[in-house]
Each structure stands twice: as structure tokens, then as C-alpha cells.
């Protein structure tokens, strides 16, 4: 995914991304730098694409790094949990 355009569905990334807002996502940044805590990323899980923020990164423990992703709307959002690097599609580079 060099560059993709997404409409956000759901409330868990509010106030950063409101339901119905748009985002540009690219995999190019992660060709040069590693995903870091605070990055908003698009990732694929069970054939669905989600947008969440990286909250924690665990140190490599045999199986490679894992990323803990969660919504910004802490009041009520379900935590998605740990994902692998290969599940990350790209970084949100612009909010429209």
C-alpha cells in the first residue's frame, strides 16, 4: 500500500478522527523508519482494516516485535490488543 485513501467509520479515534472523516495512509514512511509509539496506523485484522494508535511496543522476544494498538477515545473504546508488524499496512500521513 504505497498510498491509500480511507473513510473512518467508528468513534474510537475521536477526537483525532471523527466518524466519517478521511485519512491518507502510506507504507512508504515505514520503509525508512520503524513504527513508534504514538503513530496512528492502518492495519488489517480478520479481513477488516482498522485505524488505531500504537500505545506500546514490546521488545523482540523470539517472534519479533509486537505493537499494542488502541483507540484515542479511552472512555469507551475496546482495546484491540497486540498486532504483528506484518499486519501493519501503513502510517496515517494526513487527515482530510
Amino acid at each position: 500500500m504505497l498510498l491509500s485513501y480511507f473513510v473512518i467509520v467508528g468513534h474510537s479515534m475521536e477526537p483525532s478522527f471523527k466518524n466519517g472523516s478521511f485519512a491518507l495512509v502510506s507504507s512508504i514512511p515505514y520503509l525508512f523508519i520503524k513504527p513508534k509509539v504514538g503513530d496512528i496506523i492502518a492495519f488489517k485484522k480478520e479481513d477488516k482494516i482498522f485505524i488505531k494508535r500504537i500505545a506500546k511496543i514490546n521488545p523482540p522476544a523470539g517472534g519479533g516485535k509486537k505493537y499494542f494498538v488502541k483507540g484515542d477515545n479511552n472512555k469507551d473504546s475496546l482495546e484491540t490488543g497486540w498486532i504483528n508488524k506484518k499486519e501493519i499496512l501503513g502510517k496515517v500521513i494526513a487527515k482530510i
Binding site: L3, F6, G10, S12, L24, F50, I51, K75, D76, I96
Partner: protein
């Protein structure tokens, strides 16, 4: 205006895909009210079963039929509400409560476990004591739930003729 032009231009170049900002369900719909109402319904059903009487020690066939019918209906509703209570508590436990809540309320797992056991017992038996204890435990869970949202709580009397209070945010 500029934003609209930008969105329109980009969507002509790149197809618009959907990215979900939620997991299983949309956010913001957790509430322990239903679990408490279910526990109150169990108390009511248990009370109504206990209150059933016959006109004599040897009631007629018609009277027996009516009582059996009534017990069946009350038991069915009691069963349903015990399962509903467990279902609602399971959702709060699995989907709402997070690690940070557990650190703040370390007895949360024990409380949920206890609710499951009391709900099962209240379903299996005609046991008013168990039913009341179930409500008490669910009220405690409701208090914790609202505290995690920094809300003060109050108890209001339910509309059930058998009584039972509901913890709600102030």
C-alpha cells in the same frame, strides 16, 4: 470549500476504502443498568413463585393446571433474566474493563466470578437469599463501572413491587 475540493480530487485519483475505528461494535454503549434490572427481575420472579398458594391441600385438576402453568412461566422468565444478567456482566468484563481498571479495583475478577456463581444458583433454585445477594454484587460492579468514568453514583428504587435498588450515575 477547499476541503471538499481536496476530498473530491483525491477520491478521483484513489479509491476510497473503509477503515474501522472500532472493534466489534461501535463505542459508548456500555451500561450496567440492564444487568441490575435482570437481577431485580430474578428477585421478583422468585418472590412470585414463593407466593403461589393453593386453595386446599388437594386442589382440583384445573387449579393444579393453572399453578403449574404459572410456575412454568415464572421459571422461564427467571431463567432468561439470570442468563441476561450473566451476559451483560460478561460484556462489561470482557469488553469494557481494562488493565488499568484492574489495577485500581483488584477484586474485579473475583466480583465477576462471584456474580456468575450467584446468577447460576439463583437460576437453579427458588432461592431469595441468592437472588438478593446477586443484586448486591451486581450493584457493586455498577459502582465500580461508574467510578471508572469518574461519576458519582446514587441508588434509586426500582419499579419492581418486590423492591430492589439500581445504581445509577448522579
Amino acid at each position: 470549500m477547499i476541503k471538499q475540493v481536496l476530498i473530491s480530487t483525491i477520491s478521483k485519483i484513489l479509491p476510497t476504502k473503509v477503515a474501522y475505528a472500532h472493534c466489534d461494535i461501535p463505542c459508548g454503549i456500555y451500561d450496567p443498568y440492564q444487568a441490575q434490572l435482570a437481577a431485580i427481575s430474578i428477585i421478583r420472579m422468585t418472590g412470585m413463585i414463593n407466593d403461589l398458594t393453593t386453595s386446599s391441600s388437594e386442589p382440583s385438576f384445573d387449579e393444579r393446571k393453572k399453578i403449574i402453568h404459572q410456575i412454568s412461566r415464572l421459571t422461564k422468565v427467571k431463567e432468561e433474566h439470570a442468563e441476561l444478567c450473566k451476559h451483560e456482566v460478561r460484556i462489561l468484563w470482557a469488553d469494557y474493563f481494562k488493565e488499568e481498571h484492574l489495577r485500581e479495583y483488584p477484586n474485579l475478577h473475583d466480583l465477576v466470578f462471584s456474580i456468575m456463581k450467584h446468577a447460576s444458583k439463583a437460576r437453579q433454585e427458588i432461592n431469595m437469599e441468592e437472588s438478593k445477594e446477586l443484586l448486591e454484587k451486581v450493584q457493586k460492579l455498577a459502582e465500580i463501572f461508574w467510578k471508572t468514568k469518574s461519576r458519582k453514583v446514587t441508588k434509586i428504587e426500582s419499579s419492581s413491587p418486590s423492591g430492589g435498588k439500581i445504581v445509577i450515575p448522579q
